[in-house]
Each structure stands twice: as structure tokens, then as C-alpha cells.
């Protein structure tokens, strides 16, 4: 499976490494060359030696998207640090390049919910954090009253 990951921060780089070791073709696009180093953290070879692809460029630029292989991508993951960039490029990947599976990280729970209703597969870390805090608080309260 060809996986294109845009934005290799803490989340994107870890997802990229695990997808590569699971045997997928993985291409990473990031505007910061430093994220290439982050990709190789904990690896015994370079990213390229391990079979990974890396492109420096901005996700809104057609040339960068093409170079990173968007036309062949079967899975597109938008995991830059900006919700607005992620939501925009995810829709471009879905509607223009017709990538079969598009997954987008959205920190803002309200928009994550609305765009999910519009047919985007959204991942909202903030929502997970809220639920974990809520259940932790409920658990503590439960223990206290017992």
C-alpha cells in the first residue's frame, strides 16, 4: 500500500516509521528538512535505506504533492501542525487527486466533528484527551465517594 504522510512532526514521523516497518511504501512530505532527521530517530539505517521516500515542500504546492507521489497514493494522511492546512490539503487529496483513503488530524473538536459529517475521516487528539481527563476525574470522584 502506498501511504503519503504530509507533516512529519511527533505524530506523523511515528506513523511513517510504523507504516514502513509494516511493509508499506511510505512517502513523507514536510516543508522542514529537519523533520527528515526526526524520521530516522531510533532507526539503525537512514530513512531512504529503509525504503522510505522524503520530499521537502509545502503541502499546498502542486509540484511538491506530485513529487511526493500523490497521484499514486492509496492512503493520504494530513498531520501537519495546522488544522487549517490539514483540512484544506485533505480535501484537495480527496476531491482533486481522488486518493481512496484520506485521514486528517484536526485538533479542534468542533471542526473535527463537522468535517467528519462532511465525509472526511478525522482524528482529533484533543477529543481523546478530553475523554481521558473526564474518565480520570470521574474515576477519582468515584473512589473518593466510596
Amino acid at each position: 500500500m502506498f501511504v503519503l504522510i504530509v507533516g512529519a512532526g511527533r505524530v506523523g514521523s511515528q506513523v511513517a516509521r510504523s507504516a514502513l516497518s509494516a511493509g508499506h511504501t511510505v512517502s513523507v512530505l514536510d516543508e522542514d528538512p529537519l523533520s527528515h532527521e526526526r524520521l530516522e530517530v531510533g532507526m539503525s539505517t537512514t530513512w531512504e535505506e529503509a525504503g522510505g521516500l522524503f520530499t521537502v515542500g509545502h503541502a499546498m504546492e502542486v509540484d511538491a504533492l506530485r513529487e511526493a507521489g500523490i497521484e499514486e497514493a492509496e492512503v493520504f494522511i494530513a498531520s501537519t501542525d495546522g488544522d487549517n492546512t490539514n483540512l484544506t490539503i485533505a480535501q484537495i487529496a480527496q476531491r482533486h487527486y481522488e486518493v481512496p483513503s484520506v485521514i486528517v488530524r484536526v485538533m479542534d473538536p468542533a471542526r473535527a466533528a463537522w468535517y467528519r459529517e462532511q465525509g472526511l475521516q478525522t482524528v482529533c487528539p484533543t477529543q481523546h484527551a478530553i475523554e481521558m481527563f473526564q474518565s480520570a476525574v470521574a474515576e477519582i470522584a468515584g473512589t473518593g465517594s466510596a
Partner: protein, 224 residues
């Protein structure tokens, strides 16, 4: 009319000022605190502090009852999403988006965000209009209708000079609608003879510009 403007830069602030002066109700949304405080001294309650890409900020500004939403921040992704939510989530009837990087225009079109205004494109349009040697001037683009009205000057050596309108071998989808001669415009008949120096107005299907320029412009080519 109730107008919400996202982005209090030079464009947004001046738009707000003009629209208020014309009697409209306006809310300007600015996400930079110090910029907001500066604008607030002049616009008072007509400016709100917040990130207009967040739903609650748009709702606080009253997006549900807005007649027009304008997104003019310096960030194309923000402008695109603000207009998309205004249109599709809050069913705002009219939207206007600013395109900062003209290369992003295609993405605005892809997501149905129209009109999308780019300063670069506007300046190019002005250059076309101000520099006649450019050959062909776009007067009006009806994007949704897939039509455009253009103006082209007939050069001395143009193939069209001396031809009757009915003899012009125009491509399918092109029609001469008016001639401007010595400052006067008129609707030509089939036997009207086109002269060098005439300005010809045509209605076209998009994509026929080159064929038209070849027939009318000096030397039969774009000279720019």
C-alpha cells in the same frame, strides 16, 4: 446588509470602514490581540477578538444571520475554510475569499469558494487593460456560465482588417457583439466592414482567446 469580515489587516479594516460608512452592519474578526485593540479604538463594538476559523467565534459574531461573509486574512487555508464553513455549514448566501498566493486559486475553485479575489490577478488584469499591445483584454468573466467578454484591437496588419463581419472565420463559440470606432460603439451587421484601429468586443467560450487573438491582433499574434 449584515457583513462578517475575517481578518483585520489593511484590506479587512478598510473594507469594514467603507461598508459601515455605506450603512451596513459589520463585524470584523481579528485574531491578533494587539491588532484587535488598535482597531477597536476606531470600530468599537464592530470588531471582535478571535480566530475566525473556529466555529464558536463565527457563531458569536452571528454568522447564522450574515448576508455576506468575507475572508481576507493573510492565510489562504484560513480564507478557504472560513468561506467553506460560512457557505456549507451556516448557509450564508454570499461569500468572498481573498487569494494571497495566485497558485492557490485552483483550490478555491475546487472547493466551490467563489468569488476568490487575488490582488496579483487584478494587477495583471489592469496591466492587460493599460497596455494595449497586450492584444486582448478580458472585460468580464462569467465563470459559472462558462462565458467571457473580451475586447481586442484590430491591428494594421490584422487578418480581420477590411473583412466583413459575416466573412470572419470565427471559431464555434465566438460571437462579435460590438465594434468601437473613433470613440463610438455600435452593434455591427453582417456586412459591416471591420477596419484597422477598431476595437472589437466578442463573447467567447473560455479557451478561444488564442484563436481570436490570431485573427484580430496586430501581426495576427499576441505581441506581449
Amino acid at each position: 446588509m449584515y457583513v462578517i469580515i475575517a481578518g483585520g489587516g489593511k484590506v479587512g479594516w478598510n473594507l469594514a470602514r467603507e461598508l459601515i460608512a455605506k450603512g451596513n452592519e459589520v463585524t470584523l474578526i481579528e485574531s491578533n490581540r494587539s491588532r484587535y485593540l488598535t482597531i477597536e479604538q476606531e470600530l468599537e463594538h464592530a470588531v471582535q477578538y478571535g480566530d475566525a476559523t473556529e466555529l464558536w467565534v463565527l457563531e458569536r459574531a452571528g454568522i447564522q444571520r450574515a448576508d455576506l461573509a468575507i475572508a481576507v486574512t493573510g492565510d489562504d487555508e484560513d480564507n478557504l475554510l472560513i468561506c467553506q464553513m460560512a457557505k456549507e455549514k451556516y448557509l450564508c448566501e454570499r461569500i468572498i475569499a481573498r487569494v494571497n498566493n495566485p497558485r492557490n486559486r485552483a483550490w478555491f475553485e475546487l472547493l466551490g469558494i467563489q468569488p476568490a479575489v487575488s490582488a496579483t490577478d487584478l494587477i495583471l488584469r489592469l496591466i492587460e487593460h493599460e497596455v494595449p499591445s497586450y492584444g486582448l483584454v478580458h472585460l468580464l468573466d462569467l465563470r459559472d456560465e462558462q462565458l467571457e467578454i473580451i475586447e481586442v484591437e484590430v491591428g494594421d496588419t490584422s487578418p480581420a482588417a477590411g473583412k466583413r463581419v459575416q466573412d470572419m472565420p470565427l471559431p464555434e463559440g465566438a460571437l462579435i457583439i460590438s465594434l468601437l470606432r473613433q470613440g463610438r460603439g455600435f452593434v455591427p451587421k453582417g456586412d459591416t466592414v471591420i477596419e484597422a484601429g477598431d476595437e472589437v468586443l466578442l463573447v467567447l467560450d473560455p479557451g478561444l482567446e488564442d484563436a481570436i487573438t490570431a485573427q484580430f491582433a496586430p501581426n495576427g499574434r499576441m505581441t506581449a
